[in-house]
């Protein structure tokens, strides 16, 4: 194991912060991750030395900015192993990427009576856009349930699939349960039924395998801010044939070839889907984050995180009355739980007074909470810079809360 956790922690300046007089223990990485100094420096460098609008300029700064922006596209391409940089589209985040596909794929391929399938463990961002498009196109919205451990019911999925299935959308990793879904298998099943597949990789691209060609994903979406990059940037990968086959989403700026009052023609990929001035510094910062990750072998990152997760589970399970939600066969990064007699919101708020940052509530997955019959959970979610001391701080924090509540 060459992961040097002290070194890594020192790369993230925010980890030196104090909260309520206590050192910050940041365990809300499923919501957003912190940024290494190299990402912050890259952003400052951009604004201080070569900020400019891109693609259309005939001047030096514009060339520099364009080049950095397009190099960033290649960095992303290579991280997810896309076949071409034309298949990498920058969006604001996962949510926008999914909305783009739901709309554009929906307009082209989803018709009345067709089926769209998502899972009951999907984030609202991979749930509501499909509900909306089903309503607009008169299609049926179908959902795959999960079992009590948090494994998808592939047997039910099998039965849902038919020649009416147009597209299947699912998260590779659940943000509320930590389940790693068997992506390759699901994709194969969907393809065999003639359906396209969108993979919501918001919680997987930074933790588990992320090779879009190996997965054979048709569409694949993730957010920069969850993989140590800046806010306001995300990626939509799409197979070139699909991206060519679906109509553009937004109009304006960069996405245009020729405009006249009578007729407008669209630009080539990837620009066809990038209307308006993009978040220029976003991809550049995201590439810096990926470069940072690339300084370590990915298998070691994964092994380190797996190890930490199992340590966390063990420690938490020692606490009386604690239930962990999400015990799937394959899992990563998420520790979701409740303690009998303590409301998740109270637990989260009181942990905060000790500097321990977790998230509470439904985590934008109300259908999961409905299925589990609970109103929410406390969720500690891990990143590369967390260590066993963070877990220990969480556990002793919980003990302290119990005392405060007089239990």
């Amino acid at each position: 194991m060459t992961i040097d956790s002290d070194k890594i922690r020192s790369d993230f300046p925010i980890l030196k912060t104090e909260v309520n007089g206590k050192p910050l223990v940041y365990l809300d990485n499923g919501a957003t991750t912190q940024k290494p100094q190299s990402v912050i420096d890259t952003i400052v460098d951009y604004y201080t030395h070569y900020n400019s609008n891109i693609h259309r300029g005939a001047h030096h700064l514009s060339n520099l900015a364009t080049e950095a922006h397009e190099e960033a596209r290649k960095t992303v391409q290579s991280y997810i192993n896309a076949a071409s940089n034309r298949e990498v589209i920058f969006t604001r985040g996962t949510t926008e990427a999914i909305n783009l596909v739901a709309f554009s794929y929906g307009e082209a391929f989803v018709n009345p009576g067709d089926d769209v399938i998502v899972t009951e463990m999907d984030h609202h961002s991979n749930f509501v856009p499909w509900q909306m498009i089903c309503e607009r196109r008169g299609a049926n919205f179908r959902t795959i349930p999960f079992d009590k451990n948090g494994n998808l019911r592939l047997d039910v999925f099998e039965k849902l699939l038919s020649e009416k299935t147009r597209i299947v959308a699912f998260n590779h990793v659940s943000n509320s349960l930590g389940t790693i879904n068997p992506a390759k298998r699901i994709i194969k099943m969907a393809h065999d039924a003639g359906a396209a597949v969108l993979v919501d990789a918001a919680q997987s691209v930074q933790h588990v395998e992320h090779d879009v060609q190996d997965l054979d994903a048709d569409f694949y979406a993730f957010s920069g801010h969850k993989i140590y990059g800046p806010t306001g940037i995300g990626v939509l990968y799409g197979k070139e044939s699909w991206l060519d086959a679906i109509p553009p989403y937004q109009g304006g700026g960069e996405m245009i070839d020729q405009v006249s009052i009578e007729k407008t023609t669209y630009n080539k990929l990837p620009f066809k889907f990038e209307a308006g001035t993009p978040n220029i510094v976003g991809p550049i910062g995201l590439a810096a984050a990926i470069d940072y990750l690339n300084t370590m072998p990915f298998e070691e990152i994964r092994a380190y995180e797996d190890d930490l997760l199992e340590y966390g589970r063990e420690q938490l399970l020692e606490i009386e009355g604690l239930t962990i939600y999400g015990n799937a066969d394959q899992r990563t990064s998420i520790l979701a739980f409740n303690i009998e007699g303590i409301h998740h919101y109270d637990l989260g708020t009181l942990l905060d007074t000790q500097g321990v940052a977790v998230r509470t509530g439904h985590h934008c997955t109300q259908p999961i909470m409905t299925a589990l019959g609970i109103s929410g959970t406390v969720r500690a979610s891990l990143a590369l810079y967390n260590n066993k001391e963070d877990i220990d701080a969480l556990v002793s924090g919980i003990q302290k809360v119990r005392k405060m509540l007089g239990e």
């Binding site: 309520n20 409301h343 998740h344 919101y345 109270d346 708020t349 009181l350 007074t353 000790q354 509470t360 509530g361 439904h362 109103s375 929410g376 405060m404 509540l405």
Partner: protein, 140 residues
């Protein structure tokens, strides 16, 4: 009976004796626990206040132009916050409730300390109370 202004001043004073936030939360929780239990009959959909991570039931009554409030929540902290609102408003003349400016959240620092989602939940409670006060004032 103390006025709304006096009630708020009292809360601010109580909090000022508790410099640490964990003490303040302990105090809040205590306040919630000391509240009269809300009769199950009042735990109905109509009394649920939206905007919180937790569920809040807020029962409102108008007696002789005065606003009477009872509340409960599955979260002890939220229940404590509800208790503060009861302390400030319950039993006060509807007109006074209507006109009242809530200053104690800022003065105690609770506004900065509660996440905005919570704050929204509180705001929703306050809105409900104010809306009810309008009706109650008209009834008189």
């Amino acid at each position: 009976m103390a006025s709304i202004r006096e009630n708020q001043a009292e809360i601010v004073e109580d909090f000022s004796f508790l410099p640490q936030w964990d003490e303040r939360y302990s105090y809040l929780i205590e306040l919630g626990q000391k509240m009269e239990p809300l009769p199950e009959a009042f735990k109905v959909e109509d009394n649920i206040v939206r905007g919180c991570q937790s569920t809040v039931w807020l029962h409102r009554e108008c007696r002789d132009g005065r606003v009477i409030l009872e509340a409960d929540s599955d979260s002890l902290i939220v229940k404590g916050l509800a208790a503060l609102l009861m302390k400030v408003f319950s039993g006060q003349p509807a007109e006074d409730v209507l006109k009242a400016e809530l200053t104690f959240f800022e003065e105690t620092g609770l506004d900065k300390h509660l996440s905005s989602q919570r704050a929204n939940g509180l705001m929703a409670m306050i809105e409900q109370i104010k809306t009810f006060a309008v009706k109650c004032a008209e009834e008189k």
